[in-house]
């Protein structure tokens, strides 16, 4: 009996463990993709950015238990949402960002990075047509940030988004350097101690805020 139980357990683990354990193939594919992603910038042409998003989506298609490929694919589409040639194209890209976010949330419903992504998508939606969209997406942006902060107070990225948004909001509307700097400094402090869960986990944001921090009083 004991051997039977052991062998059942072994069988169970044999089946369960490899499914949950990240395969080397997955790690390698993600590392390759992330290395390529690091070479992208706001000057990257749209087709290259799409190729990047496609690469993550291909990984996501195989790794149905991993939220990270979906997260990065969504993030690529957020960037594309800022880059699209007109409102219609920007919205199309952001629809795809939402699709990836939804798939990721199904795997990890209470994840701080996904809450950040949700806020990022809302911000990108708002930027498409600020005049008419701030009412709808402003609160969604805030809600995403609040959720991310409450899920993980040490995550610097909600502060990155908040600070950046404030920096580019005119003073009359509650933005400007005076409002943005304390938030950006908070982000910088959190970056000093923040350790991503693995090499594959999100790490972006530090370089993004550095040029803005130079405008802040020391």
């Amino acid at each position: 009996m004991k051997t039977l139980l052991t062998s059942i357990l072994i069988l169970l683990f044999a089946n369960v463990v490899p499914v949950h354990a990240q395969s080397d193939q997955y790690k390698q594919a993600m590392t390759d993709a992330l290395n390529k992603m690091k070479t992208q910038s706001e000057k990257t042409p749209v087709p290259d950015m799409l190729a990047m998003a496609n690469q993550f989506e291909r990984i996501a298609g195989v790794e149905t238990k991993e939220w990270l490929p979906r997260y990065y694919a969504g993030l690529m589409y957020v960037y594309l949402g800022f880059m699209g040639k007109d409102e219609t194209e920007k919205d199309k890209f952001l629809d795809q960002a939402d699709t990836n976010l939804k798939a990721a949330l199904a795997m990890a419903p209470d994840n701080d990075e996904l809450a950040v992504l949700k806020a990022y998508i809302a911000q990108s939606r708002m930027v498409v047509d600020p005049t008419n969209r701030w009412q709808q997406y402003g609160p969604l942006f805030q809600a995403g940030l609040e959720k991310a902060k409450s899920l993980n107070p040490n995550n610097p990225r909600p502060y990155v988004l908040e600070g950046t948004s404030l920096m580019y909001t005119p003073v009359q509307f509650g933005g400007g350097a005076d409002a943005a700097c304390p938030v950006l400094k908070q982000a910088a402090e959190k970056f000093a101690t923040f350790k991503p869960a693995s090499d594959l986990h999100p790490m972006w944001g530090k370089e993004q805020i550095e040029p803005m921090l130079t405008k802040c009083p020391k």
Partner: protein, 741 residues
């Protein structure tokens, strides 16, 4: 041992051969295009269940290697297009594959039914107007109906409230909030004074103004419905204070994840404003008003939404009004004193939900309103009250390919009371309606919307059946034509029903043809219409034509009236040519005649102006964070009654015209932030040029008592007027958009 040793060596070439063929990669290549063969760069082409794939280049070509053998499933995905799946055979010398993707339905490639509808919506991209436009337009005074009066199809009537559409009177337009008819959308009507709407523009996320041919979901309006949809969430959190020349108000908003609550309270007194702006009205008591409202929204589940809105207000005023028909010795000018205390209570609650991933939608609502006017008219009791309770439910089933079908029903009970010359009139109407409507897409370029509505009104004991049909055809990437036809019924004005419940529904038939093109933030729209009026109520008073807007119809009535209206309107909006400048122009033309009310012959009604033009401009100056808007309106002369002409001559009756009405209005708003509080300051000037506009003329007796000898003008409440005010949001998180101003 030797053979043993040799064996592996013998196997080596074989093993190598196997491993070579196992890692021998098959190359998959081809091209991805749309249905017309145009390259789609950036498409994701890959084998299902593998990492193997590639992105198409600028020519739509792709090429990748795979270690997979034999067969695989090729998957192609591309944003905005339907996914493509095909099993393929993997052979070393496989031929290039050509893949044609089909575009998903979207707002650009799918036709929308637009005939007769003018939408201001956040949710739809292809609308000509956004909700924010209502508050940022000079001359609209942040009043929803005033903004609608600047749209094509609307006619401006300066001395009456409401929306007059394409030859229709203000009684032919119904205001509907979240599907529920609003019994008293305006502050109580006063003779020759335009009352404001009771609702704040910020309550609504979307407004749809119909110029005719509207959906079978709505009824009881011969000309138009103004559909208002309330917002789903609070915009700001915290305390807000508003202060201006007319009133002061407080608001408080609080939201949680699944619910939000907003409360407002206000008190207003027009005494200070009237002291600064000269009035053309002889006020005996400057209007004073106080009110409050409460909004509660709850999301009990992921898909459900419950909304409750309730408001109560009180208002008082007194004025002297001139009615030559009431002239007596001692009161030669016919001056009548009117005093009024209005109390209004309105509540509406709706619940919406969806099932099966949004394929089934439910909209339900309940609304109750009570409105009472304690009015004395020349010391006589002229009080009135109205009470309406209604329920409504609509079920929508979404079908494939954008098509849908909906079923719905509504029931109302309406009680009306009116005191006239010491007689108390009362009536009660139980009204019910059921409707079915389908939206049917033959293709993305052609859509039909057939509908039918059945109604019953207990007070007249009559049924009606009203068919509606709209269709739309896409003529180009950015343009389309629409056609709408429908029959519309309305229970006659209750003032007739007090004395005659044998009347039948009044009817109008609409035919509308619409063309529109929206491209690159520029919109052009043209619409032509023909309206037939039938079974209009006629009065046989046996007395001369009575011009008193507060008159009560005493005569015999029947449904023998009829009429027509025809014309066209044009709309052009450009947000592109000059950076930062947004302007639009509308022109509406109507030709209409009717035989109705006291008319003895067919004539153009007194509320009709043949030509209406409006030019609206706005610009935001970022450096000074100030929004400036300038509006010009032109309304051609309207017919007025001249008692010196025979009222039974079609050539003479209402043949005189008032001069045209011109108005230039200006508004500016500025925003600033101090100590974390947001402050918005605004100022506006109406009738900048101080034009002595005339809305109508009346006739009075001369000094010797000879009747109808002296003509006098009825104009606006004020000529040039100004208004200033401010708003403070006591919340660090308060955010305001530049265009909210």
């Amino acid at each position: 041992m030797k053979p043993f040793l040799r064996l592996p060596f013998c196997l080596i070439p074989v093993l190598v051969g196997i491993s070579l063929s196992a890692s021998a990669q098959t190359v998959v290549s081809g091209r991805v295009t749309d249905q017309r063969g145009r390259a789609l760069p950036g498409a994701n082409v890959f084998l299902r269940g593998t990492y193997d794939g590639a992105t198409t280049d600028t020519t739509g070509a792709f090429r990748f290697a795979t270690t997979r053998q034999d067969t695989a499933t090729l998957l192609v995905t591309y944003v905005g297009y339907e996914s493509f799946v095909r099993p393929i055979k993997l052979q070393p010398e496989s031929t290039p594959i050509t893949i044609k993707l089909t575009e998903l339905a979207n707002e650009l490639n799918t036709v929308v039914i637009t005939a007769g509808a003018f939408e201001a919506s956040d949710e739809k991209k292809m609308t000509m107007l956004k909700p924010m436009d209502i508050v940022t337009t000079a001359g609209a005074a942040a009043d929803i109906t005033a903004a609608m009066n600047l749209l094509p199809g609307a006619q401006r009537v300066g001395e009456q409230e409401g929306v007059f559409v394409r030859g229709g009177s203000n009684l032919e337009t119904k205001v509907v909030i979240d599907g529920m008819i609003v019994q008293n959308p305006f502050f109580s009507s006063l003779p020759d004074v335009q009352s404001r709407g009771r609702f704040q523009p910020f309550m609504f996320k979307g407004t749809s103004f119909s110029t005719g041919g509207y959906s079978a979901q709505y009824g009881q309006a011969l000309s138009s419905v103004l559909l208002l949809n309330t917002v789903d969430r609070n915009i700001n959190n915290g305390l807000g204070i508003s202060l201006n020349l007319a009133n002061t108000g407080l608001s408080y908003d609080h939201s949680t994840v699944n619910s939000s609550i907003s409360a407002t309270g206000y008190y207003g007194n027009l005494k200070p404003l009237f002291a600064l702006v000269r009035q053309n009205i002889d006020w005996t008591r400057e209007p004073e008003f106080a009110g409050s409202s409460l909004t509660y929204r709850l999301k009990p589940s992921k898909t459900g939404m419950l909304k409750f809105y309730g408001m109560y207000s009180d208002s008082w005023l007194g004025m002297n009004f001139r009615d030559p028909g009431s002239a007596t010795t001692g009161n030669e000018t016919g001056l009548i004193n009117l005093r009024q205390h209005n109390r209004n209570f309105f509540t509406t609650s709706t619940y919406t939900d969806s099932w099966a991933e949004g394929r089934w939608l439910l909209n339900t609502g309940f609304s109750y309103s009570y409105d009472t006017d304690a009015t004395t008219y020349d010391t006589q009791d002229f009080g009135r009250s109205s009470e309406r309770a209604q329920v409504r439910a609509v079920i929508t089933r979404l079908l494939g390919g954008n098509s849908s079908i909906l079923f719905g029903a509504e029931a109302h009970t309406l009680t009306l009371k009116n005191a006239v010359d010491g007689i108390a009139y009362q009536l009660r109407d139980n009204y019910g309606a059921a409707f079915v409507e389908s939206q049917f897409y033959v293709s993305r370029n052609l859509a039909f919307q057939p509908g039918i509505r059945a109604e019953y009104s207990s007070v007249i004991g009559q049924f009606n059946l009203a068919p509606r049909l709209s269709l739309a055809y896409k003529t180009g990437v950015f343009s389309q034509v629409s056609l709408a036809y429908g029959q519309f019924y309305q229970t006659p004005d209750y003032r007739y029903l007090y004395r005659n419940t044998a009347l039948n529904f009044e009817r109008a038939d609409h035919l509308i043809l619409n063309y529109q093109i929206i491209r690159n933030k520029r919109t052009f729209r043209a619409e032509a219409f023909y309206k037939n009026y039938a079974a209009l109520v006629r009065e046989f008073t046996g007395a001369p034509y009575d011009v008193n807007p507060y008159r009560f119809p005493w005569g015999r009535t029947d449904n023998s009236g009829h009429g027509y209206a025809q014309g066209f309107d044009l709309f052009w909006r450009d947000q592109k040519t000059v950076k930062g400048l947004d302007y639009w122009v509308t022109y509406s033309y109507v030709d209409t005649k009717r035989l109705f009310q006291q008319y003895a012959v067919l004539a153009t009604p007194t509320f009709v102006s043949n030509h209406n033009v409006s030019l609206i401009t706005k610009r935001f100056f970022e450096k000074i964070s100030t929004n400036i808007s300038l509006t010009y309106t032109f309304t051609s002369g309207r017919p007025y009654y001249n008692p010196n002409r025979p009222a039974d001559s079609e050539r003479e009756f209402l043949s005189d015209r008032t001069p045209a009405v011109n108005n230039v209005s200006f508004s500016a708003s500025h925003i600033l932030r101090t100590k974390g509080n947001l402050i918005v300051l605004y100022a506006s000037v109406d009738n900048l040029l101080n034009s002595r506009n005339i809305f109508t003329y009346r006739y009075a007796a001369d000094q010797n008592g000879n009747p109808n000898r002296v003509r006098y003008a009825v104009g606006p409440q004020t000529y040039r007027s100004f208004f200033v005010g401010g708003l403070i949001m006591l919340s660090k998180k308060a955010k305001v958009d530049v265009n909210q101003l």
